[in-house]
Subunit: 332 residues, 2 copies
């Protein structure tokens, strides 16, 4: 009897790094699909900053938290290895919220088939949460116009890197904020950003003044932290702020203060928070919007691959310590 591993969430995170004792690793016998069921062997598991939020239960959010005792929620790709379902054949690649598990049974609900010959890493790094989020956030809320200036925090992250490239493809002046020199070099030299700020060593205010000499029209917020205040101070009249992530505050005991609202009136600024589950119904249109950019080579990506299911637990900390180099994927 062959076995497989899955990981359950058994405890809520406390302020500070994610620790492995929040989870329980289990070994189980690989099941056989019943009528209208398929057995999926997961091959690629996506790690996303949003998962940190799903582990908390304390506040209302856009989807329910992962219940204690449940397999940790995540999206991923897998191969159909046994099928009693007319829509799925053995060998099909499927995508969906597979969770932290090597195998799973499914009735096919919530799964979509990937076309053949799609690179699985591109599927997770671009044509999944990161690309859809970037497309919805930038075009749905950011209203980018050629010649405007956009600042993207978390610019080397999976979402930020796509936002910046989409903005560049639309002739904006694109400034990225990241946490080390390698990331700053990557977004400028490889992705074509116009400028980068290393928030750990640069004087953010001085650099923003240089790089956004005419002020900032769009702020795409992925991180929170002091960057937010510096960017806020340089927003232009009728500026748009799109709040996609606040990773720097997700694990702090006391969330940091936001900016005072007087400039919102003086400059008629809008701030819009969003989360993708509201827009999953638009996934087809978003993909259609994104595809030409990818096909014309305007969206580059890189992946940071961890090996083995258990690497996911500590892997989440890479979002906080900035250690990831590209879209985090766990290969199983």
């Amino acid at each position: 009897m062959k076995t497989y591993k899955s990981i359950r969430l058994v405890s809520r995170p406390k302020p500070g790094p994610i620790t492995t004792d929040l989870f329980k690793v289990e070994q189980k016998v690989i099941p056989t699909p019943g009528p209208e069921q398929i057995l999926v062997k997961q091959t690629h598991m996506s790690l996303d900053p949003a998962m940190i939020g799903w582990m908390h239960s304390d506040t209302e959010s856009y989807i329910p938290p992962v219940a204690l005792g449940d397999v940790m929620r995540s999206s991923g790709l897998g191969e159909v290895v046994a099928s009693n379902h007319s829509d799925f054949a053995v060998g099909d690649t499927v995508r969906g919220m597979l969770g932290w598990t090597e195998y799973l049974l499914s009735n096919g609900k919530g799964l979509s088939k990937l076309p053949p010959n799609v690179d699985p890493e591109m599927a997770l790094a671009v044509f999944a949460l990161p690309g859809l989020t970037a497309t919805q956030g930038l075009f749905g809320f950011g209203d980018p116009k050629a010649g405007e200036t956009i600042v993207v925090s978390g610019a080397a992250g999976s979402v930020g890197s796509i936002v910046g490239q989409l903005a560049k493809a639309n002739d904006l002046n694109v400034i990225g904020v990241a946490g080390d020199q390698e990331k700053c070099d990557w977004i400028c030299n490889e992705l074509g950003f116009d400028g980068a700020i290393n928030y750990k060593i640069d004087d953010i205010a001085v650099r923003l003044k240089e790089l956004a000499a005419n002020g900032i029209d769009i702020y795409f917020e992925n991180t929170g932290g002091p960057i937010q205040h510096h960017v806020f101070d340089r927003m232009n009249t009728h500026g748009r702020i799109v709040v996609c992530g606040m990773i720097s505050d997700y694990t702090s005991a006391t969330p940091s203060a936001g900016p005072n609202w007087i400039p919102l009136i003086k400059k008629r600024i809008s701030i819009r928070g969003f989360a993708m589950p509201d827009h999953f119904g638009d996934a087809a249109q978003l993909t259609e919007k994104l595809t030409p950019y990818v096909m014309s080579g305007k969206i580059k990506f890189r992946t940071h691959v961890l090996e083995g299911l258990e690497s996911a637990m500590d892997g989440l900390n890479l979002f906080f310590n900035g250690g990831n180099r590209g879209k985090l994927i766990v290969k199983l």
Copy 2:
């Protein structure tokens, strides 16, 4: 030779109350209109919280500050007392940015004629900045729906009182925040608000929990201050925050901190700052939207009338100390 008085701004406000030494009162000879000019005798001068912002020069804003040495800017009503202009006859009532002056010459630009028999106090308290601002803010940005809950700060103020009544007429649960019992009684007993919070003595969090048991869908922000944080904490998913005024911060040396942005993501909240000059082009449509509410008796108002041009200077402080009882008007 008859003379008249006008008041110039000669110094920028410092933190704290507005002092009369910021202004210079001048006595001049009443002029005679030249070709295509009219002479206007101002009868009613409007005092609005926005004027505090116009007196400051330090930050970018939606209209230029009043230049030092210029007559202080304000809107008002006046009577045409001499005319060489084909569009205006002696006896016409005109409205416009007349400024702090008893008389002024005009070529008619920026002035509009009031229909006969319009009550001048209603013209300034409803069919002017307060009513247009309330209509634009609530319907243009607040997206009110029957059954939702709205909280209005500065609820007994000229804008807030109209916002609340418009919301009530659209079957929302309307909660007003004001600074004393008389104002709370007025908005509930006279204007039909569903509840009122006296922020100076009530426990705001407890009262919000009682009055907004199902959370808050719209926050119409006129004041800033601690109310903002309590309301923000109870915002519902997809809530809308309309930022119209921040009077409690206009004179503080250090603006107070705003709320952290994480809930903007979790609850997909939007925040929209606005200022009416952006929407003056829509004044006709806004008036058309507002008129049926007024005509059907759903918009009540009261005025707080000061006497004489010089009373305007100290009158501005009524916005900070909450001493005003209704729309502030200076009768000349």
